[in-house]
Subunit: 247 residues, 2 copies
């Protein structure tokens, strides 16, 4: 998704500055009082860059840090017993990863980089220390988890209610909106995931996804060349997707 967000690099080593990070308003510190953001920042480490296909978290691995994607995109998924992938969603910069790991202390699903990816991490023991003295951060963590839960419920509802084209339309509309919020052009992007990934995310087959793209193209709503997408009629997509979902 051509996400290489060139955030302002402060300079030296593994030290991270949330202050100058372009993602700040979307990330944890953006919701904290300045004091607390400062405290949090001192606990943030920068993870090393990952190449496409590399694992950011592995299911079953001990959750030793809270991870947030800084640049690039990733795929959240589980591997079923039959060896197929269930794609839970795609991660964009500023989004936390592996939150379901709070359930057991071990991650519940895999997260793989789809593009060169960098990320930030807050070691678990430091997070716990911070939670002891930062009321805003306590609220923020609950908010973050609540939001993830809300989103999961919403997505589940859609799966049950919407047909193939509606699901693809909503996928595009959602992506569009998230890109916009991060300052990327919302109507002109390159997908970082394959049709198969999209299909597994939406509970469809890759052929059906492809046909949906074909339909949208024929209708003149979309320009599609492999993974390059131009949205020509966002309104039409939004209409097909149905309103932002439940009340």
């Amino acid at each position: 998704m051509n996400i290489r967000s060139e955030e302002i690099q402060t300079g030296a080593h593994a030290c991270v500055s949330c202050r100058n990070c372009a993602l700040k308003p979307l990330c944890l510190p953006g919701h904290l009082p300045v004091q607390e953001a400062r405290a949090l920042e001192s606990a943030v480490e920068r993870g090393r860059q990952l190449a496409p296909g590399m694992a950011l978290v592995r299911a079953g691995a001990s959750m030793d840090a809270l991870l947030v994607v800084r640049s690039g995109s990733a795929k959240r998924f589980s591997v079923t017993l039959e060896g197929t992938e269930q794609v839970h969603g795609f991660v964009l910069p500023g989004e936390a990863v592996g939150l379901e790991g709070f359930a057991t202390g071990r991650y519940g699903c895999e997260v793989n980089a789809l593009e060169p990816l960098s990320y930030c991490r807050v070691p678990m023991h430091k997070l716990e220390q911070l939670l002891e003295r930062l009321p805003g951060l306590r609220r923020e963590m609950l908010r973050l988890l609540g939001q993830a839960l809300d989103e999961a419920l919403r997505l589940r509802g859609e799966l049950a209610e919407t047909d193939a084209r509606g699901r693809v339309a909503r996928f595009l509309a959602d992506l569009s909106e998230r890109l916009a919020r991060r300052g990327f052009p919302p109507y002109d992007f390159r997908l970082s995931m394959s049709r198969a990934d999209i299909a597994r995310h939406l509970g469809l087959t890759l052929e059906t996804v492809s046909r949906a793209f074909g339909t949208f193209k024929r209708e003149g709503w979309l320009r599609v060349r492999a993974r390059d997408i131009s949205v020509l009629r966002p309104d039409a997509l939004a209409a097909l997707a149905g309103a932002p979902n439940c009340a």
Copy 2:
């Protein structure tokens, strides 16, 4: 689901004793050190009894307390713009409700009693005070939300991967297990929800759900009389449902 759990009533007014509650091991205090459980208990209030069909929480209402069902069962759902219900799941005793409300401070979906229902509540301001000084409770709240998230992801994955009978089988197997964990007979129960509710929960039509029950009955795996269910071959259901899901 004949859930009237006759928990030991301590005696007087609105005071609640988690200590003697039959649900303690399944509920929040069960995961806390004794000291913290004691502290939490002092903040717990008892909600008044609700008749079937009454709302425990309404979407959009301000989340002013953390709620846990004490006896009875309930249906979590959203109302779509078209006026249809998306059923997210069913709540059994010991389960918290409305956690997605942490996202915005307002509940994201409705919860209605399916049977006479009683519940406990921890007012939000008291919860925040407790979180300040109880590290175990902090962990527990994150665990609770993480678990809800994990479950939502799991359910979503199943919707995408499993066919009608598989979904119904899993629904029954899951219910069975949850009943067992609460000390109810796992293979002989009365459903508190309609076929339509089950259907909307599983992303099917009520006819399809009914046909699935019919199939299981014909196969000799189930005895079905309206809402009275006897599971004769739990193994067969479990097999059809697939393993407990993803790895």
